[in-house]
């Protein structure tokens, strides 16, 4: 048990000694101090904004409530569902578009027409289209993740050096080999980039959708309720929670990508 702890302790020790960490913390501390002083001085922009210390107090009380963790769970579930469907459909579609010229010709114009429409512009139409609000939100999240993934995968396939394919073909590779040995490994980094970018987008969409569609739970709803109720410290706590949730999910995707593409040199 103690074995994995020792490198961690050493790394923490190294972190504590490096100047960069302290300088970064100093930057953050300066920001918070300016904010605190700004509220003391009652600057016009910060007239309604509570000081960081008040926000911290609010955070400490909110963490104890069940409602708060329920919001996390509900939003997380929506994000996960929409995101998973988006990735599961987007990756094969992007690969197919990159590999088959005919398929590319048929589907690319359609993707290009639908893609520039911002996901949230779909909200009203989805509300009319889907029977429940839950499905509406998931479908909007799906749209956000889907187009990002498709375009990144497609770009990845198109960036493959043609000589790899020629070399494989001249050595008698089957299309199936081409796919598993060349296209998929070469595209893997782009797939994970697309997945990570798409993940960032999904959290943004879930928040906005929850605010617009007035659904009964979730982090976005919590924030909107705090806004309506005039509890500004809770608004900031919600913002921080959403940021944290997005950060955690993106870190997860990057870690997964790193594990699955070990041949890439990371800096």
């Amino acid at each position: 048990m103690a074995q994995p702890l020792r490198p961690l302790a050493r790394r923490l020790g190294q972190l504590a000694r490096s100047a960069a960490v302290w300088q970064g913390l100093a930057g953050i501390a300066l920001f918070l101090a300016l904010w605190q002083i700004g509220t003391w001085l009652r600057l016009p922009m910060l007239r309604h904004v509570p000081a960081p210390l008040d926000v911290l107090v609010q955070f400490a009380t909110v963490v104890q409530s069940r409602q708060y963790w329920l919001s996390w769970y509900v939003s997380g579930q929506r994000v996960f569902l929409g995101y998973a469907i988006g990735v599961l459909l987007g990756v094969p579609l992007g690969l197919a578009m990159g590999m088959s010229r005919i398929f590319h010709g048929v589907s690319f114009p359609l993707v290009e027409v639908l893609r520039p429409i911002p996901p949230l512009a779909w909200v009203p139409l989805s509300i009319l289209f889907w029977p429940t609000m839950e499905q509406t939100i998931v479908s909007i999240i799906f749209l956000g993740a889907f187009f990002t993934v498709v375009l990144n995968v497609l770009g990845g396939v198109e960036a493959i050096d043609v000589s790899y394919q020629r070399a494989a073909l001249s050595m008698g590779a089957r299309p199936w080999h081409l796919f598993w040995r060349i296209v998929l490994p070469a595209t893997a980094p782009s797939i994970f980039t697309g997945m990570a970018v798409g993940m960032g987008l999904t959290w943004e969409i879930v928040v906005a959708a929850e605010m617009i569609a007035s659904i009964q739970a979730g982090l976005g709803f919590m924030m909107w309720q705090a806004y309506v109720g005039g509890n500004i410290a809770l608004i900031i706590v919600s913002m921080a929670s959403i940021g944290l949730a997005g950060l955690l999910s993106s870190t997860l995707i990057w870690a997964l990508g790193r594990r699955l593409t070990p041949w890439l040199r990371r800096t």
Binding site: I28, P118, V123, P124, Y227
Partner: protein
């Protein structure tokens, strides 16, 4: 839907021939471009400075990384409380969306410049100003324009949501208003208009990038 769009006397009061439609478009375009320009004017210099001067990078990057994960749209309630009027909150939210994409890509662009260029410039006795103008800016330009394209897409995305939540005019508001009155053709009309405007804006940025980086198209 198209019959409605091209109708001189539309059933729901909005088509290519009504001035209100253009008013919505004008408001959205004005907000998107104001926010985008602000983001470029602030984001590119900050990104360049962070990439070029290590001290600046060390002091500011963690702060940037702390604020960046907060989605622009989560700023909406706070922006309404902090800024007066109707226009500033919407523009602020759109600005936030474009700003981080611009800063990060610019920073990345400077960091990818080969170190030997800096050393060569130093050996040739370049002043800091000349290093900035002849090494840092041209070296980062491709990344800056990638960032600007992403930022343009993001600002339209945030704008629509901002208008839906807090706007009084603009295409996002038009869509949401049409939804409240169950005017489906107008909804689709708004969506397609937005798609077209977003596409044209990205094309504009791309064209500008190509014009400024003539050496890359050889």
């Amino acid at each position: 839907m198209f019959r409605e769009w091209f109708n001189r006397a539309p059933a729901f009061g909005l088509s290519l021939f009504t001035p209100v439609y253009y008013e919505h478009i004008a408001y959205s375009v004005y907000r998107a471009y104001t926010a985008f320009l602000l983001a470029v004017l602030l984001g590119v210099p900050i990104g360049l400075l962070m990439g070029w001067r290590q001290r600046v990078y060390r002091y500011t990057f963690p702060l940037l990384e702390m604020l960046r994960p907060i989605p622009p749209l989560a700023w909406v309630p706070l922006a309404i409380l902090m800024l007066p009027g109707i226009e500033p909150p919407v523009i602020y939210v759109t600005f936030i969306a474009a700003f981080f994409a611009t800063v990060l890509n610019t920073l990345l662009g400077v960091l990818t410049i080969d170190r030997s260029y800096f050393r060569a410039a130093e050996c040739l006795g370049f002043s800091p100003r000349n290093v900035l103008l002849h090494v840092v800016v041209p070296g980062a330009l491709p990344f800056i324009f990638t960032g600007l394209q992403i930022a343009m897409g993001l600002s339209w995305f945030a704008l629509v949501a901002g208008e839906m939540i807090a706007g009084r005019r603009g295409l996002g508001y038009m869509i949401f208003d049409a939804y409240n009155m169950a005017q489906i053709p107008t909804i689709i009309m708004g969506m397609l208009t937005l798609g077209l405007l977003g596409y044209l804006s990205s094309a504009l940025v791309r064209r500008l990038g190509r014009a400024l980086m003539a050496w890359r198209s050889l």
